[in-house]
């Protein structure tokens, strides 16, 4: 059942394989164009200028210190999760949102409350505020031992390299 299509393909191949008549001077013209296009345009800068340009680039790099900016601006996305089947609302509150419960309300699916935040490198204290009244630490994170306000908190650290 594929024979008719095979014949059509074969005819197309035969057609494409026929030699194409080309202008006898084509090769010469092409080679002339290539020769013109590839002829190097050399511009020799006087040595002091090239040294000054290199110094300027080096100076700009040293002032901007892109490696330092990279080290300190490497943000990380973290997922915060709390299992609280009985909760009506849960907010993530911490150093990253001015301890404002309205800033990071968490979403729930079957009692699993979650949210993700992108944080710059640093050490952050945080806690979950359940139903607007109950403070809970994150059971999956280190505890903040220096809690001076009588409620549990956790800490998360975003490092500057390889974290």
């Amino acid at each position: 059942m594929f024979e008719p299509e095979d014949e059509t393909v074969e005819r197309l191949i035969q057609h494409l394989r026929r030699p194409v008549a080309m202008d006898a001077g084509l090769d010469a013209r092409v080679m002339r164009e290539i020769a013109q296009a590839s002829s190097p345009r050399r511009r020799v800068w006087p040595l002091p200028w090239s040294v000054a340009a290199a110094a300027a680039v080096l100076g700009a790099v040293l002032v901007a210190r892109p490696w330092a900016r990279n080290a300190t601006s490497r943000a990380d996305t973290l997922q915060f999760v709390l299992i609280a089947p009985q909760a009506a609302s849960v907010s993530l509150v911490g150093d990253f949102n001015d301890w404002d419960p309205a800033r990071s309300p968490m979403q729930t699916a079957h009692g699993i409350w979650a949210t993700a935040l992108r944080l710059a490198p640093g050490r952050y204290r945080y806690a979950f505020l359940v139903n607007g009244v109950e403070w809970r630490a994150d059971p999956g994170a280190p505890a903040a031992k220096d809690d001076e306000f009588g409620t549990p908190s956790s800490v998360v650290t975003v490092g500057g390299r390889g974290s």
Binding site: A71, T72, D76, T77, L78, Q79, F80, V81, V93, D95, D98, W99, D100, P101, A116, P121, G122, R123, R125, W135, D138, G140, A141, P142, A143, A144, K145, D146, E148, F149, G150, T151, S153, S154, V155, V156, T157, V158, G159, G160, R161, G162, S163
Partner: protein
């Protein structure tokens, strides 16, 4: 001119709208502490955040002021140990390490053996102590790992120790066993160090 600049900073801190969540007396006292810290080159934001934490948690004004004063002092101690080039996140992490029981000498030693930033190394030290590891053991472990380990390696180490403790191992023993067993393959990296696009858990 310097006095004018300091006065300007004072006004900026005092007028920070976030501090309006504090009562007027507490706000004034917190602004004064923040101004003093700023005047000697310490970061202000951790002080503001500590005050806001107290306000949100319903702490009394006196308790909030005491907390921010203590924090300002500890930030100063941390900077003495780490040097004036230490960043704000490093100083915050150093405060946690100091409060966990690490000595300023350990912090200074860490600064000497590890390329900055030191934030993660300091935090891991503090978190190990929070897990029950004696401060000297935690300090020794972090100092041993610090020259080679990446931040992710340090986190993996902390998690491994915490896991062992949760399974019943004595904290000090868990730390030394993990350290000696070469639980970290710091030269080749660990599998979990990886995908920056995927959110990780704290």
């Amino acid at each position: 001119m310097i006095i004018a600049a300091l006065l300007l900073v004072t006004q900026v801190v005092a007028q920070d709208p976030r501090l309006e969540r504090l009562d007027p007396d507490t706000r004034s006292a917190v602004a004064a502490v923040a101004d003093s810290a700023n005047g000697v080159g310490l970061p202000v934001e951790p002080i503001i955040q500590r005050a806001l934490e107290g306000a949100t948690k319903g702490a009394s004004g006196a308790r909030i002021v005491a907390a921010v004063r203590r924090l300002a002092v500890d930030l100063g101690t941390a900077r003495l140990a780490l040097g004036t080039s230490a960043s704000a996140p490093e100083l915050e992490a150093a405060v946690a390490a100091l409060r966990a029981g690490a000595t300023p000498q350990v912090l200074a030693h860490l600064r000497d053996v590890r390329r900055p930033p030191l934030t993660m190394a300091l935090s891991v030290l503090a978190d190990l102590v929070a897990s029950g590891v004696p401060a000297d053991s935690a300090g020794a472990a972090v100092l041993a790992l610090a020259p080679q380990a990446r931040d992710a390696d340090l986190v993996d180490f902390r998690r491994a120790v915490e896991r062992d403790i949760a399974l019943g191992a004595p904290p000090g023993a868990a730390t030394s066993v993990r350290l000696n067993a070469g639980a970290l393959d710091v030269s080749s990296g660990s599998p979990s160090s990886g995908n920056p696009a995927r959110p990780r858990r704290p």
